[in-house]
Structure formats: C-alpha cells, structure tokens
C-alpha cells in the first residue's frame, strides 16, 4: 500500500516525507515511546528510496522528535518540536559588551563573607568567602561607563594585580587558570536613578537615569563562581542582543 506524499509547494521529497511523519507523530501515530515504522517499511509505504527516508528521519531527529538506534529502530521521543529563539554569545565578554580596553580599575578590594544586603540584592544565600572588587570601568582618558562591584568566590579568585590587567571577564580567567568554567549565567537588567555615592566616581549627576545589570555566574555543579553588579549612566551604554529563530 503506497501513500502519495502531499507536496503542493514543490519542496524536496525528503522534506515532504518529514512533514508527513511529523504530522503523524503530532497526531499520536505513533505515540511517544512507540516505534516508527522501519526505514524499509517507510520506503515501501511512501514509494521513495532509502536515501530519502534517511534524510527525512535525520530532520526529525535534529528536531528532537525521534531517536534512532541501530538494530532496535526509531522511537518517538516528543510529539512536537517547539520553535524557539536563541541568542548565541561567543563568551562572557560578548555578554558584557564592553570594549576590550575598557578595563576595570579597582578602587577598593576586600575579602570576607557575603553580607546580607548584597546577598539580598542578588537573591542568593549569605555567607561564603568572597573577594570583593569595587571599581570603575572605562577606557583610559575617557569618562567611565560603569561602576562595578564584583564578588568572586575566594578560593578561585585571581590576585589583584591580575585583575588590574584584565580587559575582559574575570570568569574567563577563572575558566582557563582555575579550570572552573562558567556553565550558567543569570542576568537581570533594570533602570534606576543614580545615588549620590554612585554618581561621584562616574562623573555623573545624582538622580540621573542609569542602566543596572546584575549577573550571577554558576559552575557546572550549580555553585556560585562570581556575582557582579554594574551601573551605567543612561546615555553611555545600550545593551544590544540578537535572537535567531532556531531551525527545527
């Protein structure tokens, strides 16, 4: 029994077959956990070559709908591929969006437990030993663009002299020098008015609108690597991002 593939749009045959199978799966035939017909059976049912069937199945596998196992067959693992958008960043430096020579110039440093007000601002637990660096970030000779507080887990923090030389993120240094790569970053962005204490080192006016970015960096085991809090006077910094719809 041969089933004709519907192909009104002139798409390649393997795409038409993938679509036909996607529709079957969405309708529960076969259901999640059940086996799709074998490649050989699909060739006969749809009247196409094994090459075409394999290409169609590859598309479905890439979409996450099926899993194929040599000797066993092809099992349905999801009923629908969910369209999603993805923002890709090469590294943490891309996330920070500062020019490479916009270095963090420390104004003061301090070691100790994370205090309650800071922990509350980040929504994390108090305690733990952290190395706190407060400073401004900007290019030499230019108005600073950010006032930043970074709290780095003390056991993996770099020496101060190293921080001074860094143009980019301390977490990239920790990844390469301490062997602790960042696995997850949580960032929040908000707007607020600069306090008098914040405005001064930024050469800005108290009450001026500012963009605040707070980040929590976690390692693979879910342990905090670092926290950062940066505030930027409004016209000095815009946060840009590009999201692409992921091919299914």
């Amino acid at each position: 029994m041969t089933v004709m593939l519907e192909n009104a749009s002139g798409a390649p045959r393997y795409m038409a077959l993938a679509e036909a199978l996607r529709a079957r799966i969405a309708g529960g035939d076969p259901a999640i956990g059940e086996l799709l017909p074998t490649e050989h059976a699909l060739c006969e049912t749809y009247g196409v070559s094994r090459h075409t069937v394999r290409e169609a199945l590859r598309l479905l596998a890439e979409a996450g709908l099926i899993a194929r196992r040599r000797g066993a067959g092809t099992v349905v693992v999801a009923a629908e591929a969910r369209a999603h958008f993805t923002q890709r960043l090469g590294g943490v430096d891309d996330l920070m969006q500062y020019a490479r020579d916009a270095k963090l110039q420390p104004r003061h440093t301090r070691s100790g437990p994370l205090d309650a007000a800071v922990a509350r601002a980040f929504g994390v637990a108090t305690g733990g030993e952290f190395f706190h660096v407060a400073g401004v970030r900007g290019r030499p000779g230019e108005t600073p663009i950010a006032l930043t507080d970074v709290y780095i887990r003390a056991d993996i923090a770099p020496p101060v002299e190293t921080i001074v030389e860094m143009g980019g993120s301390v977490t990239e240094w920790i990844a390469s020098e301490r062997g602790v790569p960042t696995a997850r970053i949580e960032q929040s962005i908000s707007a607020g008015a600069l306090t008098e204490r914040e405005a001064e080192p930024l050469d800005a006016e108290p009450g001026e609108a500012a963009l605040r970015t707070r980040r929590r960096y976690y390692d693979k085991g879910g342990r905090i690597i670092a926290l950062s809090d940066s505030v930027h006077p409004g016209e000095r910094f815009t946060y840009d991002m590009v999201l692409m719809r992921e091919a299914e």
Copy 2:
C-alpha cells in the same frame, strides 16, 4: 595527489574528513571568505566518495564554519566553532516578559509610511507602509507597566479588534495567521528619563528613570515584520535572562 585521512580513533571516514577540513580552516587554509575546494576536488584529494565529502561538509555547515551555495561553491565563514553561551526562549512572548494578562490597550492607531524620526530611532530605512499602534500595557486595574509603540508592516497587520484581544506578541499572531514567522529579532535595552509626554499615561513622574526596550523583528528574507519601542518606569520592570553554556 591523494591525502590519507588520519583516523586513529576508528571514527567514520566522513568524521575524519570533517576534522581534517576543520583543522585546515583553523590554520587559515582556506581563510575566512575564501572558497573550500569543490566537492569533486575533495573526493580526489582525500580518496573518498562524494557521499562522504557531503556528509563531512554537512557537519562543518552545522558547526557554522562554512556556507554552501549551489553553483558557487563552499565559502568559509568562521575559522573556529567557538564555545558559546545560549539563551533559549520558547517564543517571542518569553522575550517580552510580560504576564499573559498584561494586554496592550491601544490609545491611538494610524497607518502610513514610517517617518524619519522613528526610522532613525530604530536605525532602519524610512518609508514602507506600517500600521502604528500606540498604547499602554498592564494588567486590568493595575498601574501600567509599559508605554509601547508598535509599527507593524501594513500588508500583514492584524485588525485593531484582534490587537485588543492579544495578550502576547503580535508577531506570534502574524506567524500563525499570515504564515510569516519571525526569524530574527534585534533588541536593544537602555535607560533614560521619562519625558512629560511619556510619564502621563504611565502615572509616573517626568524625569523618572525608565528602562527602554526597542525591538526589530525580521522575517526569513530579512524583511521587517514589525518594530516596537517600549518604555517602563524603573521599578515596575526588570529584564531577566538566563544563559547556558552549550556543549559542543
């Protein structure tokens, strides 16, 4: 001249070839922007079938290193597949981060070409027919959280009555009802002070700090679907995002 593929690990031939080509590209041979040898040439150089070459090239294309064009050849677009961080969103509604019942309440609508000031603010070309909706977004009975201007390409814009009913993004409607899915979104986030004109419909004070998000939505062909500009008084909205390190 046939080059033997190094394959100490027993990997399939197409993977060994992909790795050999990856190494060549990383070494600048060919460089970014240059053409890789043709499929036919690679078959001869490496002593494998066209099928094997195509599989290897598919891997490289999926890794983002090359782009293949029928009739033209295969161009190198990146020298290295870089470890990267990825933010995944289920859909545009996740990007917007408004509660589902925080609907856009239109205050006025207008059709016409995109004027120069608006085009300049978005960094896009003037002209084109757009349907402009200006309104506030918020939950019923609560203080509005956003003042929003949306410019929708006129040929695919929904009717006003439909916009009123929408809890989410108009682009999701356009994707399902007009068959024009959003393929790319560019977003910028900045801080600034509310103007008197902006503050009034938001029940806020002029000069108050506000978070501004501007988005450009593009279809698969790079054509604008819609533009949006939203401004949120500072304490009413925080923009949150999570990035995960992607396994390679």
